[in-house]
Symmetry: D3
Subunit: 237 residues, 6 copies
């Protein structure tokens, strides 16, 4: 896993996550105000949109804008990313600002949704730094923890972490786990299409997943130890 901050110039946070052949661009854009149903509450909002470039997949996939509708998988992952990142942020501290996390898959080879979540956290952290420098936060420390995600699969009866697409597509069980650097869980999604799995496999997958998330948390921390990549409002750097 390689994480590059400051990949784009315009968004407050922009992170390229590379993991095996999978590459996801996670951008955090800041907008004043919140959706209408939240206006006046004093609370901020974080939302996410996940998408894949047509050229990101082994065989070209058709463009959802051209089809005129978003597919079920895209909807599902967008909702998962948004929900996961909202778990680490204090909306009152954020104040009436909206942060949109755009996770665009440049190249896909398995694990794009978990890479997206892991990268989106770093982009979110940069956007929060930017808002702080712009003196637009209600409270200086809105982030209570960091967020990571991994996928775990069972292939040929063995539990494995972060499978590439070719192996993932023949996994008997597939589980995505979103966790925090405190070791707690945010989201667990385990699916056995074509096969079911026992409680003890479930337990083993959770062990692997929490260990993997711990490593990612340390990587995020070391990457974010570097200064903000770009110019901050108010001349701070």
């Amino acid at each position: 896993m390689k994480i590059t901050r400051g990949y784009q110039d315009w968004p407050a946070g922009s992170v390229l996550v590379e993991f095996g052949r999978t590459r996801v661009l996670c951008a955090a854009s800041v907008q004043e105000g919140v959706p209408r149903w939240r206006t006046g509450s004093g609370l901020g909002w974080v939302t996410a949109e996940y998408a894949m470039l047509p050229s990101a997949t082994n065989t070209r996939s058709s463009r959802e804008s051209v089809k005129g509708r978003i597919g079920g998988r895209t909807h599902e992952i967008s909702r998962l990313v948004g929900r996961s990142l909202r778990a680490c942020i204090d909306m009152a501290a954020l104040g009436e600002n909206t942060i949109t996390l755009d996770c665009d898959v440049i190249q896909a080879d398995g694990g794009t949704r978990t890479a997206a979540i892991t990268g989106a956290y770093v982009a979110l952290a940069d956007a929060v730094t930017w808002l702080g420098a712009a003196k637009r936060l209600s409270d200086p420390k809105p982030l209570s923890c960091s967020i990571q995600a991994v996928s775990v699969g069972v292939v040929d009866g063995r539990v494995r972490l972060d499978l590439p697409y070719e192996e993932d597509s023949r996994a008997e069980v597939d589980m995505n786990v979103v966790a925090t650097d405190h070791g707690t869980l945010v989201e667990v999604q385990g699916t056995g299409e074509g096969a079911t799995y026992t409680r003890s496999t479930m337990d083993k997958m959770l062990d692997f997943a929490l260990a993997g998330c711990g490593e990612l948390a340390r990587l995020q921390e070391s990457v974010l130890a570097e200064p903000y990549p770009g110019e901050l409002p108010g001349g701070a750097a």
Copy 2:
């Protein structure tokens, strides 16, 4: 939980599931042939569509057909129901038939997706019986197990099964578990929006869920012990 078979006259399987105030109509319609991408494979297909009547919710919800697009939540649940039911059926035994499971929520008070899955299994079993009587199965026993689902929540720190909407909406953690009558897992989706949860809470929720699913499996079994509700093709009854 109350399960009524033969609720409608036309579909091969039609089941009304009532659970507290929640009422879901699960219909299994049989169609010859499979989607184009599967034609000629000799394999069948099972798919699901979940929807809510506008009048099913406390405050009227707007109709997705009128909005001209299906929301993220609807997409997500439709996919979950389809995936869950595909876990119990041998597609080769089904032969090139498509079974569509329509889960329409008549009244909602929490747990509609898990009620839908539990009812859809019974409708599916009836549709399989119908196909067998019509001599359209490639193999007489396509179902390898039964499928149940429950929701588990943590409210005020206590783990609870199948919360009504009012309590569900203030649950700190919300988990849906789909299981089989063999005690294995098909799908686990645990979400902590606004809060995260520990590994030990996770374990406790799984205990509750598997116990709940076991009870539902016994209910399904006793309901399906009754003869097919209606006329079968070929005069069988």
Copy 3:
């Protein structure tokens, strides 16, 4: 024809109409305020949406929300139901409230639109009672008459009332008549696809239709003589 009030818990009026094998769920939901183009007029609004469950028909019909557009037939019937029910209500007495009539066909076997209108009147009457108890009407008696509808067909040269689908589909002429309990007409739609019809057939069909509507008016009256099915705002019952 059987009419069951209080079929659902949430809407102010909820009525299940059963007629032969046809079953339609008519719900009347109350919302404060009126559409933007009517705001400030002091007048209320009544609108209707008609739809069919995919499993309601002999052969499963595809879901309009999935197709992303509403078909011509659905549009036409929704407009007919709304127009018909608006004929019996004094919009000034209703005050700036909107009543939405959702007519969802659970099972179809001919005459779904006329069953929907007949049931929607009963749901509307319950919703008006509810609004009255909530002291939200500008005037206590907004309903000036009751509304009923029947279909009349000519099959093999004979005029017949309320044909089931199998006969309806081979009718030479098909007419829907919406009337009031005062014996006046609200809407007449007579269509002869594949054949035309004489003025004297037209006259005979109107005779049959008005007689049929009279019977339905008496049924509605007796059903509405029972108390409101559920709890009324302000503790009235």
Copy 4:
């Protein structure tokens, strides 16, 4: 009412109908083959699409192609026009040809749907002549009668024929009648929004309508007595 044949060069039939300030362009385009569900039946098909130019109405109306969906009124009228014109044509004689009737309102001042039907018949007759000259009919005389339509309204208690928009919009009852030159009825649609009407008003409106249709039938006949406006296939003129 003025009817001009040969208004456009490309369609097999093209008729401009002018009636008061209302102007509707009715084009009949011929296409080999029929929709998929009718292929191989040996029967032809006639369908219609009604639309209004944005500039046709007193206040500019927005374009349905830009809104991305067709409104209920447009759907309803398109279906009415198609159904009405199918009443006069023998589909077996037409053979596997499709005739599409495009009724585009250039200027609207009441009665656009009835003007559309009356004009569409003349365009259809020309298209049939064209098909005959091209030797593409299965039988030389597919038209069994002519089709006309009028609107009748009740204004200030008096029954009146073909009201302009300003009067039509305050009519207590509004009825559209489609008839044949044999004096039989094809379609009757009577609506009393805001008021209901008695059986005797209904009878009087039908009298007026049938008289009006008779006059239109004579006008159509005299217009169609002129030769085909343009060149026919095979050099016939």
Copy 5:
């Protein structure tokens, strides 16, 4: 080229342009206020929508409202017409009024977009006259020049002006030029699909185009020398 003003009764400007077999109806509708993003600026707005009747083309084209989306060509031409006409009008003088130019092709035989622009200018001039009479302009002379457009093609190596469809479709190069009566350029769009063209061909095409636009400018001027066709607000004529 023939230009008929006052073709419709309702819009402030309505012009029928005929050019060879091509006929385009250009209507300029006036609306108080401007789009939201421009409100309060004191500036007006001019926008355009181009469309083709299904019956306008040699082979019937399908209706974009029925397809539920506007094609690329329609979008492109609508934007071109709007951009071109905005070049001649002083938005501050127009004041916060919106003029919508609807260009509907009645019959197509090449050059519909250039005919649309040339006609839209005349409709725009009439709409401006109407606004002046209604005392709704901020400044009495918002139009700084007139706008014309021609198409130029290279067929069999020879540069030609305004080709009919049959020749246009085999042109090696196709160029649309929008110019003003001052001889300056507003828009040049030259395309060589299937072939490329030299700089000297480009120069020659521009010579032809500017000469053609000059002629059209004189025609527009003479047509607009006639009084406003219809009644002006405030009794002016």
Copy 6:
């Protein structure tokens, strides 16, 4: 301008174009067969889709897949890119293969459409090499020339090449020119919104544009002199 080949692993051609702050990813995906209307002709097809990441612009732009429709600008540029690239390829030599050019803007700062065209040519050349190695071309040399594009603007009365967004947005005239390495023109689009321009400015802009395209042609040539970046089918490299 910097051009990086082999940016992605899956498409047959994948090129990152960087120009100032503008970055566009151009991918050429190969698919067997052609669209239905071209099947059996023996001719290939080249098409293009242009899009912008929401995070590519100074202020986040909304996602067209979420809006459910593609905007006019996107349509227009997609068509321009496709048309431009089709000018350099012999469709008979290509054989019945489709090449889709996806141009996704990663970061926008003016000139995205011209950068897209210039990069798409390089991606197309790689895809053609790939097809040749796979022995799927009907003829070994389908490309007759190379394609480049530049934008030219007039700012403060001075003609300038390839303006960044900030200057571009206040240009009086804006022209995009697509040319070949033979010095011929493929497409010229000159627009003066808010101002018009003289013939002599037009001539000067063309001079600048052709000089700029010449330089890009040399860059493309030198970049393509390097071997194919990746593995070719059949083991060629």
